[in-house]
C-alpha cells in the first residue's frame, strides 16, 4: 500500500513529532508509515483523514501487490 502522508504533512506544515502527538502515536509509527514499512489500522487511518481533512482513500492507495 502506498500513502501520501509525507506530502499531506508538509501541506499542513506538521513535523513527524507534532503529527504523532495529534493522533496519539509514537514518532516511529509516523516514520514507518511514511517509509511504507507499516500499514496503519483503520482507526489510525481515520484519524489521519481527520487531521488532513481528506478522505482516507485520497491518503492511502492500493499497490499492485496488495
Amino acid at each position: 500500500m502506498k500513502n501520501s502522508i509525507k506530502v499531506e504533512r508538509a501541506i499542513k506544515g506538521l513535523t513527524q513529532a507534532k503529527l504523532a502527538e495529534l493522533i496519539g502515536v509514537s514518532r516511529q509509527t509516523i516514520n514507518a508509515m511514511e517509509l511504507n514499512k507499516y500499514v496503519p489500522s483503520t482507526v489510525l487511518a481515520l484519524k489521519l483523514s481527520e487531521i488532513f481533512e481528506k478522505p482516507v482513500n485520497e491518503i492511502f492507495q492500493l499497490d499492485a501487490d496488495d
Partner: protein
C-alpha cells in the same frame, strides 16, 4: 491504545530489577557454585532417592537459591517483556508480536537441534537454559527492534 495482556509501563523498572537479581544468582550457581541458602520446603511433588531428599507432602530442607533465581528471572522477565513501552502504540505492538514469534521460532529451532545432537547431562543443561530462553530472546529482540526503529528517525524529517 487498548491492549490485552500488557502491564502498565511503570512496572518495567521493577521487572529489570528482579530479572537482574535472578540473572546474577543464576549465573553464580551455574558458573561458580552453590550458595547453600537452605530453607524448609513443602513439595507437592518430590522424590526421595540416591541424590534427592525432598519427599512429596512432607517438610524437608532444600537449597533454595536455584528456585529463587528461577522465580526472580521468570517474574522479572515476564514484567519486562509484557509491560508497555512508554509510547506503546499499534506499530510497537506489531514489533512486539513479531519479536515474540521470532523468539519462539529461534528457541525451538535451537531446541530441535539440541534434541538431535546433545545427550545426557549436557542435555539436562540445555533444558535448564531452555526454561528461560524464550523470554530472554524475546526481550533482546523486541528492545533491539524498537531501538532500531528509533535510530532511523535521525535521518528522516
Amino acid at each position: 491504545m487498548k491492549t490485552k495482556y500488557l502491564l502498565n509501563n511503570k512496572y518495567k523498572p521493577l521487572g529489570w530489577f528482579l530479572l537482574t537479581i535472578g540473572l546474577l544468582i543464576g549465573s553464580y550457581i551455574l558458573f561458580i557454585g552453590d550458595l547453600n541458602w537452605t530453607m524448609r520446603v513443602f513439595p507437592l511433588l518430590g522424590e526421595e532417592g540416591f541424590i534427592s531428599k525432598t519427599p512429596s507432602l512432607e517438610w524437608s530442607d532444600n537449597e533454595i537459591e536455584d528456585e529463587l533465581a528461577s522465580l526472580l528471572f521468570i517474574a522479572g522477565g515476564l514484567i519486562v517483556a509484557f509491560s508497555k513501552t512508554a509510547d506503546e502504540d499499534e506499530f510497537i505492538s506489531k514489533i512486539r508480536l513479531e519479536s515474540l514469534m521470532w523468539a519462539t521460532w529461534v528457541n525451538y529451532i535451537i531446541l530441535f537441534f539440541a534434541v538431535l545432537f546433545v545427550f545426557d547431562m549436557p542435555f539436562f543443561n540445555v533444558m535448564i537454559y531452555n526454561m528461560f530462553t524464550v523470554l530472554l530472546l524475546f526481550i533482546l529482540k523486541f528492545h533491539y527492534e524498537v531501538a532500531k526503529s528509533k535510530r532511523t528517525l535521525v535521518y528522516e524529517e
